[in-house]
């Protein structure tokens, strides 16, 4: 193992752009050198922010450090980029299990199994869990001592809608003061209308809030607009942002609502991360 780490370190030093950081980070993690593993993972992530395996590595290190909330976020990020990622589904399944949510634990483990049907250990774990048994029943060890402050992950995810279809021309997140925060919008002619639309989103959202309140309609959920060529749905991921999801008018409106809802969740998560 020591030889492996030396060799991998040398390879990475010779070519810092190499994906060998994944193997090095895993090797360090396997030896319990979590601090070093984390530095390697973060350096790799800063170079490859969209690489699912890099997020997966970082998530496993965080889980080893018992930082489960951030591990969940990292695995969630993996699934946004690669919905069938085995490691991420296993990881999230484990976290749901820890939280006592067997139903979601089984769901994610089954997703992992369907992507890797040859994993007998996973199959057994699902069977035991389904039968009410315990799976990860080893007593939890104390988290390892951290001698240095944890480095902050950087940079954050580059765009709230990364991995979404239409992330650059059909989804737009805007701030209350009319600035584009992420995504983009294009007209059917392909013209970029992101900035002009962002400037108008918050005004429309404010008007929706006012109307819903004064008409005693309760909290508003969305404003859906059927237009000649594209339809759009306006939602508020947070009270100080507005989001537009647009889609061809010929497509079912339910599909538009589904897209807006998913995009809104992604935007909320992204905002929590960057703020």
């Amino acid at each position: 193992m020591v030889e492996d780490i030396r060799a991998l370190t040398a390879q990475l030093a010779a070519d810092p752009t190499s994906l060998v950081f994944l193997r090095l980070g895993e090797a360090l993690r396997g030896r319990g050198q979590l601090e070093a593993a984390q530095k390697v993972a973060l350096t790799g992530l800063s170079r490859y922010p969209h690489l699912p395996d890099a997020h997966d590595l970082y998530a496993r290190i965080l889980a080893d450090r018992h930082d489960y909330a951030n591990a969940f976020d990292e695995w969630d990020m993996v699934l946004r980029i690669a919905p069938n990622h085995v490691g991420a589904n296993k990881g999230i399944g484990f976290l749901y299990y820890r939280a006592g949510d067997r139903e979601n634990a089984i769901r994610h483990l089954q997703l992992a199994l369907s992507a890797d049907p040859g994993d007998d250990g996973l199959r057994t774990a699902i069977e035991r869990l389904g039968g009410g048994g315990e799976v990860w029943d080893t007593p939890e060890a104390a988290p390892p001592e951290i001698t240095e402050p944890l480095p902050q992950r950087s940079p954050p995810a580059p765009d709230p809608f990364f991995g979404f279809e239409g992330s650059v021309n059909r989804l737009l997140l805007a701030s209350a003061d009319g600035l584009r925060l992420g995504g983009g919008l294009a007209s059917t002619a392909g013209e970029d209308v992101s900035e002009v639309a962002a400037a108008l989103v918050s005004g429309a959202a404010r008007e929706a809030t006012r109307a819903a309140k004064l008409l005693d309609l309760g909290e508003w959920r969305h404003v859906t607009v059927e237009c000649g060529e594209l339809s759009f749905c306006l939602v508020q991921p947070t009270s100080d942002t507005g989001l537009i999801a647009a889609m061809d008018t010929a497509l079912p409106v339910g599909q538009l609502h589904f897209l807006a809802e998913r995009a809104s969740k992604a935007a909320t998560s992204w905002l929590e991360r960057v703020r």
């Binding site: 919008l185 007209s187 059917t188 002619a189 013209e191 209308v193 002009v196 639309a197 108008l200 989103v201 005004g203 429309a204 008007e207 929706a208 006012r210 109307a211 819903a212 004064l214 008409l215 005693d216 309609l217 309760g218 909290e219 508003w220 959920r221 969305h222 404003v223 859906t224 607009v225 059927e226 237009c227 000649g228 060529e229 594209l230 339809s231 759009f232 306006l234 537009i244 647009a246 008018t249």
Partner: protein, 116 residues
């Protein structure tokens, strides 16, 4: 084109869950004609509907999405539905929670067509 707007509102107000319908001047939010359940404040509804429609039409026009044909503000306790019938007139319907939205939309589009 039909000028008896009151008659146009009748099929809408007969639909289950519809609390009221009205025709509003799009530019200043003044009530042209209304058919509302008791207790609904027509003037406030007209002003709010026109203001929201104006914002949404600005947005859809600026983004070159084409003219807005049907606008639905969905809230926890009901919906505000708007159809720009012309540049001057806006057809407005307020509903409760359990309404046949598809049918209401169709009736509104039919009514708006007859107003043109």
């Amino acid at each position: 084109m039909i000028r008896d707007y009151k008659a146009l509102l009748e099929p809408l107000t007969r639909l289950r869950g519809v609390r009221g319908a009205m025709v509003v001047a799009a530019d200043d939010g003044v009530v042209v004609v209304d058919a509302l359940m008791d207790g609904m404040k027509g003037k406030a509804l007209a002003a709010l509907a026109a203001a929201l429609a104006s914002r949404i039409v600005d947005l859809s026009t600026s983004a070159s999405f084409g003219p807005a044909r049907f606008i639905q503000l969905q809230a926890a306790e009901g919906s505000l539905l708007l159809v720009p019938a012309s540049e001057q007139l806006l057809l407005v319907t307020v509903t409760g929670r359990d309404v046949p939205l598809g049918l209401t939309r169709l009736e509104m589009l039919k009514a708006a067509e007859r107003m043109r």
